[in-house]
Symmetry: C2
Subunit: 578 residues, 2 copies
């Protein structure tokens, strides 16, 4: 057949930005975002983003410039996912838990031209700025205030009496050029936003979280984010006009694509600046929340309240990711009325790209068996083209036996463009054989379901045997007294490394459980070489802002355990190994 070439009508760049102007028509009067006492509609949000984009352009920001934000899940964080790229900029949403030094490194690396700063984080960011080299150009700073949202409603239509409410209760210090709401107020709602020239143009810059040694700048294109958005909605079967509660930080891989996704389906974004289990339950009930994404730690939070919130009277869909949720937590969540979906993703992949496609006939299995199946990561989403587990040396797929560990690899339209200013790092994972190499370890089950054995950096290698910290943690979580558990490698003169567990116990269990109890329990449940040689009890385990355990801190603690102690344990482990 004659080859037909792409033409203008069919090759217009894919981008998630067009979803906003569509929402402003299809869902004009429907709520788009609720924060404190304020509710916006989709028409409001579209106008606010256009105004903001025009003000960003007025500041001299143009195509390809990086615009950063350091803020929790407040309206500005949501709106900038549209407004910054609508001015042609690349959005860089920075993790709010980072220290000034790291923020300074990121601002320098990204050459950010404009930084939006939440008022409670201004001292951190100002310190970061002060740490920039003397010859590095200073970014423009804009303050995000918060008290405006205490009013019933903010509107950006041209009713001046309402606009008058947008007073800056928090006067910015001289370092700040203006405030976020002033930029919205003074912007042009008829701004012609900047379309991408190519669908491969960069849209966002996400730095990977600080669990790795040096943060990498993950760049995603308009095309990639569009596919991620459609993929996220389809894979989770998100209906029209859901009520979506933000506990997942938006700076975490752009909220797994649900920032743009909520515009696609006309959802209501319920924003929370900070939260605990009780706040989440209250928000779910106050706003009739139907959907939320949650790190496993948040899932834990909402299932272990001190006062029983009682079951939900409607289903709340929770999508969880990161490490696999331990079976007992899954079971508790389901008994409360949460419908838990579970996915695996990477910042580099745009969001969730493997999820546990549930088979209806599995409903007939026992609760424990169901939890075991649900803890497997599952199958690729429809936006991903291929997924496999390969032998990293030969490049060949491993046996589909649920046992042979290999490296998880995939390819597809949601994958990043690459790492900013890091061609070496980029080519290390973006391979010429077509695979993206994750560095994560997994097995492929006989039925084609993927199960992660360990994020590569979390593997413990003891006497040449690979120990999956996840597997050990799962056993620890099956112990009723355990609240949180994290297992890391502890250096060992004999074995190289041994597993060391850090555990926090449920209330009232502290006097009742000893290190010996836990070790005995594990020995009954797993091969002896996998049993933690030490179990350290903590009030609470250190976590990253995205709810992942900060294993590098735990590794430091494990390393610092005293020498004598280590020798004793090594002897024990030797005994148990044999």
């Amino acid at each position: 057949m004659d080859q037909l070439k792409p033409t203008q009508p069919n090759s217009i760049p894919l981008t998630p930005l067009t979803l906003l102007e569509r929402a402003a028509v299809a869902y004009a009067e429907s709520p788009s975002l609720v924060y404190k006492a304020t509710t916006f509609t989709w028409a409001d949000t579209n106008r606010r983003c256009l105004r903001l984009a025009s003000s960003i352009a007025t500041l001299g920001i143009s195509r390809g410039d990086v615009v950063s934000i350091v803020a929790p899940n407040v309206p500005a964080a949501y709106e900038l996912h549209f407004a910054a790229p609508m001015a042609g900029a690349v959005l860089n949403n920075i993790n709010t838990r980072l220290d000034p030094r790291t923020i300074s490194v990121l601002l320098r690396h990204s050459e950010s031209k404009l930084v939006f700063v939440y008022y409670q984080l201004q001292s951190v960011v100002l310190e970061a700025i002060s740490l920039l080299p003397a010859d590095h150009p200073r970014p423009i700073l804009v303050l995000i205030t918060d008290n405006e949202y205490d009013y019933d409603h903010i509107t950006t239509n041209d009713d001046e009496s309402l606009n008058a409410k947008l007073v800056d209760i928090c006067n910015p210090s001289e370092e700040f050029m203006t405030t976020y709401e002033d930029m919205v107020k003074n912007g042009d709602p008829d701004f012609k936003w900047v379309q991408p020239q190519s669908e491969w143009d960069p849209l966002v810059l996400n730095y990977t979280s600080g669990t790795t040694s040096s943060p990498k700048g993950v760049v995603h294109s308009h095309r990639g984010c569009f596919i991620t958005t459609m993929d996220a909605l389809t894979d989770w079967s998100v209906p029209k006009q859901p009520v979506y509660l933000w506990t997942l930080p938006m700076f975490h891989a752009n909220g797994w694509g649900f920032t743009w996704g909520m515009a696609a389906v006309g959802g209501t974004n319920i924003c929370l600046k900070k939260f605990d289990g009780a706040t989440i339950h209250a928000a779910i009930r106050a706003h009739q929340v139907t959907h939320m994404c949650a790190a496993p730690i948040v899932l834990n939070m909402i299932t272990t309240l001190t006062s029983d919130p009682g079951p939900l009277s409607w289903p709340v869909h929770v999508l969880t990711g990161g490490s696999p949720p331990p079976a007992p937590i899954l079971l508790r969540a389901e008994s409360l009325g949460f419908i838990v979906g579970h996915g695996y993703g990477l910042t580099e992949a745009g969001g969730v790209i493997v999820s546990c496609a549930w088979k209806s006939h599995w409903n007939r299995l026992s609760a424990l068996e169901r939890a075991r199946l649900k803890a497997r990561q599952g199958v690729r989403t429809i936006g991903l083209t291929n997924l496999d587990v390969i032998n990293p040396y030969t490049g060949q797929p491993v046996k589909r036996d649920g046992k042979t560990v290999g490296e998880i690899v995939f390819r597809g339209g949601t994958i990043m463009l690459g790492y900013l200013k890091d061609p070496e790092g980029t080519s290390k994972c973006m391979r010429n054989d077509g695979w993206f190499r994750t560095g994560d370890l997994g097995v492929m089950h006989k039925d084609g379901y993927l199960e992660i054995k360990d994020r590569s950096k979390d593997i413990i290698i003891s006497g040449g045997e690979n120990i999956s910290s996840v597997e050990v943690e799962n056993v620890l979580y099956s112990l009723a007294a355990v609240n949180e558990a994290a297992v890391v490698a502890k250096p060992d003169e004999y074995w190289g490394e041994t597993p060391c567990a850090f555990v926090s116990l449920r209330k009232g269990m502290k006097e009742k459980v000893t290190e010996r109890d836990v070790i005995e329990y594990c020995r009954a449940k797993m091969p002896h070489y996998m049993v933690p040689k030490r179990v350290i009890f903590k009030e609470e385990l250190p976590k990253t802002s995205t709810g992942k355990f900060q294993k590098y801190l735990l590794r430091k603690m494990a390393k610092a355990l005293d020498k004598d102690d280590q020798n004793v344990v090594t002897a024990t482990s030797l005994a148990s190994r044999l």
Copy 2:
């Protein structure tokens, strides 16, 4: 920011074909397709398609060759949407209602190398082949038989006792090289299917229906069909594992993308070779159908049964397209328990690309007002980038007043590559200003919702005034006695054209309604110049295979009305105009 280039892992061609191998993992044991007494699983369907693709390749078909099928909605029609392109071929699904001469024209134009023929249509296709020019190469013919499906279950796994059931009850005549089921049976389930080299490679060739003068060969790419598939699922909020009833012919724009879409969500395809209202109601109840696409004529069919089927005990989602459904039919369908969605699309657009996004606050309106809003075509789907109504001469958007008629235009990833061997026709609609020109007329409402006034070829121009046949038809449908109504232009010496109505009446109404009654009714409801000057009663109106009225036939009939009669009518219409 430094520009990062696409690399192999992120730029692998988008294609809907990968959805099948995913379904074979995620929904392995779930039903994929039910036909007669046979049920396949997704593992079966994947194996059958791989076997078939290998057999197609064995016949010498290679990349870019056209493979045709002439068949109703039987398993072969579904499976070939995957299997033919998995052999590298371009699938050409031919309308079963076409006459031998037209089929011959299409086979010649497409240079089809291989034609799958349903056994009941073999004489039509053999005649079409005989009409090919003497020097045109003969395509290979394969017979699709049907009796195999009377068995409880056909499986293509390697159990020979089951394969033995695949006897060819219908022995093909010598013109046929083999049978479809023999190709499945003899194929290789481990076939390495042919991946597209570029996502712009052609995937399907759809000829537009015979309502226009000369059929055009619409070519869609792998990329376009992938976006259409995701768009169709997202816009209709299709959940996982729906039960989907096929009444929409798959040869009609590839079933609006739901052929591939059902693999994406692991749905069950309920295939019917032919049907009427009672068959559809029986199938809905037998298989617990949750979703179906239906031409308005099918919607009419299922809402006007002679015996009352009673309300459905679960919601059945019906997506209808083509002409806007008349309000009374919408109301009847909803009272039976159907949830009717309404879309607008074109073969050239890949499927439905405008749909009536429903606003929850509209639920508070009266039933009639709701029907009026629902009859508007609505807003673009999220897979479409832009949609507008423009003045075709200036190229400028028309006023958003719900009144100013202009040409409907759009751009986006679902749009065809172009027309096969027709650069002139292609450039006429694929414009350099970026718009795809539909030739259809519409208005843009103040709230941004599109309403079609007429498919351009259906417009009636009377004394310089454009009359929308759709508007006149809507009034006719509001008359309780009317079953079907179609309005066309009738040549008129004075006015140029006048509207002529063809109407079929409900049972028992024939004696009770006269032409004069209908005309009087219309005169009370619309401007006089729009009132049909003739109303012709018919037992049934002629329709295309996709349920659209064959207006070209009606136009011929209108033209043939006797001269005397025409003069009388012209005088009447003159009077009524003044």
